[in-house]
Every structure is written in C-alpha cells, then in structure tokens.
C-alpha cells in the first residue's frame, strides 16, 4: 500500500515536471525556429531600411518598422500621462466608496476587452465618427484604449510598493498631498514606472488586431514613405504578419513568406529585448534603491 502510494507520488510529480519541461522546450523551440527562419533577413544589410519587395530579391521592412515605432511612440505619449494620473489616483486618493468601485470595475472591464472589439470600436469612434479614414492617430488612440488599464495598474502597483514611511514623512513635514506625490512618491517609484512603461511598449509593438481596423492599409507594399503625418495610414509589422496571408495571392504567398519570416523574427527579437531590458532596468533600480537606503 505504502509502496504503491510512493510510486504514484513519484510518477505524478514526474509527470508534472515532464509537462513543464515540455512547455519550456516548446518555448525555446518556437523562439529558435522564428529566429533561424528570419536570420538571413535579420543580418542582411538594408533589411531594416529598404521598402518591401515581395517576390523579388532584397527588400526590407523599413516603412513598416518606422510606422510601428511611430504608432508606438504616439500611443505611449497619450497613454502614459493619463495612465499615470489614474494610477496615482487609485493609489493615493481613492477611498473605498462606490465611486472608486465603479472606476475600478471600468478599468477591469477595459482590460478584458478583446483587442478585435477595441478595433471595431476604434473604427466606429476614431475613424467613422470623426469623418476620417484609418490613420496612425486612430491606431494610436485605439492602442491607448487597450493599454490604459494596464498602465493604470502598473502605476498604482509601483506607488503602493513604496515604503509608507516615505509618504508619512513627507505629509508629516507639512507637504500637501500633491507635493508628496509629485516630489517624493513619483520620483521614488520612477524605476518601477519605467519598467512598466517598457512592458507596455512591448505590448503595443506586437498588437495587431486593433490596428488592422484603425490604421492599416492592408498592403505589404503600399505605404507612406516615412512621413510624419499622423493622419497617414500604414501597416505595422505585427499587422503585416496577418495581411501577408489575406492580401498575397496563393501563388505569391511563398514569396511573401520570406518577408513574413523576417517580420516574425524582428517581433520575437523585440519581445526578448523588451523583456530583458525591463528586467535589467528593474534590477538596476532595486540596486540603486538599496544603495540609497
């Protein structure tokens, strides 16, 4: 009896470990696969700067990369101040009343919205209701809807993680609440806030469904050549990973594959960089805090 139990125990635990190992292997395999497929593109001169050339030699992701970064910066410029304000409110001002409850629920709801639903909303609100056409601005605003609850939460968490003595000390010295927030708490939470902002930026980098409806022009080759006009439309890298499939004729899909391989590799590489970057920054921040403490 006892021996059977012990055997079952080691089998079950072995299965648990095996499943985890399988998943890790799968993750490593996916990353290696994506990077190796796109490696020749990633390392090719001109890949990051020239325009796509589907079906021919050479070509690159220049306009798409530019567009991705443009939309990313624009949406971060909008979402960071608003999200930080919301986070500060929840962490420092909000009580436990009905209003706070309503605000929190709204934030949760927003966080759970599928991005395709945000895309349809963005099309109706940012594009149609303004008598406009799909554009980088509409895409950036839609991404703001997606990222806002996330930025609110990381800001709130960052402020809540600060030692209470910081807050009490400042208030005790006679500073107003706003002085405490703006000159003590936010500077102290800056490392965590930056880490969170990087992760939020990473999410924007890979988001596609919402941009598909609000800023895309469904073409691998048509693009606004590095213009700075926020009302221009254009595909981002992530969007093209879908567009290549619907736009390219079946016989061209093979040619578009080379381009898509490169795009996928860039996206995976970006995820790794964002992830490592956020991690390193977080660690450096902790070290710095420990040194000053």
């Amino acid at each position: 009896m006892n021996r059977r139990l012990r055997r079952n125990n080691s089998i079950a635990i072995g299965v648990v470990r095996g499943m985890v190992l399988l998943l890790v292997a799968l993750l490593v395999w996916m990353i290696v696969l994506m990077l190796s497929k796109g490696w020749s593109e990633l390392t090719r001169g001109g890949f990051y700067t020239s325009v796509p050339n589907i079906g021919g030699p050479g070509g690159g992701i220049g306009p798409q990369l530019f567009n991705t970064i443009y939309v990313l910066v624009l949406s971060m410029l909008i979402v960071l101040p608003i999200g930080l304000a919301g986070g500060i409110f929840f962490a420092e001002y909000a009580g436990t009343g009905r209003v706070t409850n309503l605000l929190r629920r709204a934030s949760e709801t927003l966080a759970t919205l599928p991005s395709i639903v945000v895309g349809l909303f963005g099309y109706a609100f940012f594009v149609q209701a303004t008598n406009s056409h799909p554009s980088r601005l509409a895409a950036a605003l839609s991404l703001t809807v997606i990222n806002l609850p996330y930025v609110v939460r990381i800001s709130e968490d960052a402020l809540r993680a600060l030692p209470p003595a910081l807050r009490e000390g400042s208030l005790g010295l006679g500073a107003t609440r706003w002085q405490t927030v703006s000159r003590v708490l936010v500077p102290a939470a800056l490392p965590a806030l930056i880490t969170g902002a990087i992760i939020a930026a990473g999410r924007v980098f890979g988001e596609a469904a919402a941009i598909l409806f609000t800023g895309s022009n469904f073409s691998l080759t048509a693009h606004s050549n590095y213009s700075l006009n926020p009302f221009d439309s254009g595909d981002t890298l992530a969007v093209d990973l879908y567009v290549f499939r619907i736009q390219a004729e079946p016989n061209v899909v093979t040619d578009a594959r080379q381009y898509a391989d490169g795009v996928a590799a860039v996206l995976v590489l970006a995820v790794l960089l964002f992830n490592v970057g956020a991690r390193l920054l977080g660690r450096a921040a902790v070290r710095r805090l420990q040194r000053t403490a």
């Binding site: 890790v24 101040p81 992530a238």
Partner: protein
C-alpha cells in the same frame, strides 16, 4: 549616477516645503495646486468609465441594423452567412450560428489542452520545484506572455499546419478546430498558470504541513489539499483564459481556414476537427476590408462584437463571484 540620485526620495521636497511654511502666497498656491491636481488625477481614472460607456454605445448603435434589418432570429438561428443572398430582395443572409459554435468549440478544446499544463506549471513553481520555478520558469512564462498573438498564429501557420496536414483528410490544409485549439492553448497557459500559482501561494502553510504530518505523500497533498484550497483562483484563471481565448482574433484567423460551414461530426468523426471552420473573431476580422461596402455585414459583425462583449462581462462577473467565494471560505 550622482545626478540621478538627486531625483531620489529625501531631497526634492525641501524647497517646496520651506516655501509652504514660510511664504503665505506660495502656501495658497500649493493648496490650489493640490485641489486642481486631485481633479486631474480623478479624470485620469474616470476616463476608464467614459471609454467603457463609449465602447458599449458605439458597438450597440452600429450593431442595431442586425435587429431591425436582419433580425435576431435569423442572426442567432441560421447558419447561412451569404451577403449575396440579398441580391434581388434587399438584405443578404447573416446567420451567425456557425461562428458562434466555432468560437465555443475552439475555446473548449484550447482549455482542455491548456488547463492540465497550466496547473502543472503552477504546481511546479509553488510546490515541487520552487527555486527552479522562480529562477527560470517564471521568466519563461513572461516571455510566453510577451510574444505577440499574431506571431503565435504565424508559428501555427508555418509549423503546425504542415504537421497536421499529414493526418488531415486528403486535400485539406490542416487548418481547423484542432490547429486553432492548440495555438490558443499555448497562448492561455500563462494566464491560467500565473493566476493559479498566486492562489497556491496563498494557501496557508499549516494546511500543507498538516497534510504532510498526517503522512500524505507530496502528490496527495497537492491533489487533495493544495489544489482544492486554491480552487477559487484556479477557476478565476480558467475564466480569464476562456475570455482571452474567446477574444483572440488574428492568431486563430491564420490557422482555422475561415470557412463558414459547420464541420459534420457524424460524417467525419474526429476528422471534423481538421476541417476548415470559423469563429466570431475570425468572421469579424474577415470583414476588415468590406466595412464600408457591405453595411449589413458590418452590422452583423458589430453584433458579433456585442456578443463577445457580453461574454467578457460575464467572465468578469464570474471572476468576482469566485473572488467572493474565496473570501467567504477563508472567513
């Protein structure tokens, strides 16, 4: 570094403070600033409510023609989605039964695959191998989360479909419920795993130690004590995973084939899982270049978005109920 440290906690408030104490004019100004800032910050939080209201209003108003022109009966009751059926007598057919069935079938399969793996990860991190889990598995899970969903779809497209083509009926691409289910499963494992792990962490040590002291094996403790005690979190994780899988669009669109015909289980048996099919999100995505030219189809797609929205709301309510149950059981 030294310049950076100037921005650190203790020093900056000094000038503002001395001003606030010594000079009355400055004091009034800082009070005013305090009051104004409070409202600005409230606005930052309040914009969430505004956005939710706007989303609901705009989706409903755009979906409205589905009720007036297409009819909810034919929308929810018919499997025929044919914009051209209306040529000659007005409105085309927009029955959404197939995509609705498709969504639930795909998500159910995804959860069947994902839940065991997710629980294994959660148990691994919190109980069997906490040190390896903290050092390697948690970061790995974060990378999993960070990979864009469309990249998962692409990996499915170039790696999974050729694999499934081997076992699919001749002439099939390998796309279908099985491919979409597998891709979605990989995507929701991190969601379910991290929330379940949080629940397992929160189980009081005494429960675990008590179980061990009574002579239970590690596995018995996991199965009969830890997992049941963390039930509420696990349910929350599964519900959120469900919502995420339900709402995922492009990853599914790349591997499901996008064909609005319900695969016949009676004719093909398990082979039905390898027939190209569609889901709600895929049907919405599919219309992205027809939004302006096909108003009824667009309304029907907005109605699908409303259905997704309702599913999302339902998921949030379920998670709240689970959380309440958790508090109740602890008290």
């Amino acid at each position: 570094m030294t310049a950076g440290q100037g921005g650190e906690a203790p020093t900056p408030p000094a000038p503002g403070l001395s001003g606030a104490v010594a000079v009355p004019g400055l004091r009034r100004r800082s009070r005013l600033l305090d009051r104004v800032s409070r409202h600005v910050l409230l606005a930052g939080a309040g914009i969430n409510v505004v956005l939710v209201v706007l989303v609901v209003i705009f989706l409903l108003s755009r979906a409205w023609p589905t009720i007036t022109d297409i009819g909810l009966g034919s929308f929810f009751g018919s499997t025929t989605w044919d914009p051209d059926a209306g040529i000659g007598f007005g409105v085309g057919m927009f029955g959404a039964l197939a995509p609705i069935i498709g969504s639930f079938a795909v998500v159910l399969l995804a959860l069947l695959i994902a839940v065991p793996f997710a629980l294994a990860v959660a148990v691994f991190i919190t109980d069997t191998n906490p040190r390896v889990g903290e050092r390697f598995i948690r970061p790995a899970v974060e990378v999993f989360v960070g990979i864009p969903s469309v990249v998962y779809g692409y990996i499915g497209f170039i790696a999974l479909l050729p694999l499934l083509r081997n076992i699919a009926p001749p002439g099939r691409e390998g796309s279908g419920i099985l491919a979409a289910g597998i891709v979605l499963a990989i995507m929701v494992i991190p969601t379910i795993a991290t929330i379940s792990a949080d629940g397992l962490y929160a189980v009081p040590r005494a429960l675990k130690e008590g179980s061990a002291a009574l002579g239970a094996t590690q596995w018995q403790t996991i199965r009969r004590v830890l997992l049941p005690a963390a039930r509420a979190s696990i349910v929350s994780g599964i519900v959120l995973g469900f919502a995420r899988a339900m709402g995922e669009a492009l990853a599914v669109a790349l591997v499901i084939g996008d064909v609005n015909v319900i695969p016949s289980v009676t004719k093909d048996g398990l082979g039905a899982l390898l027939q190209p099919f569609t889901t709600m999100t895929v049907t919405i995505t599919d219309g992205v270049d027809k939004l302006a030219i096909n108003p009824e189809g667009t309304a029907a797609r907005y109605m699908l978005a409303v259905v997704l929205l309702l599913v999302t709301f339902l998921a949030i309510i379920l998670v709240r109920l689970a959380a309440r149950g958790r508090r109740g059981s602890r008290a």
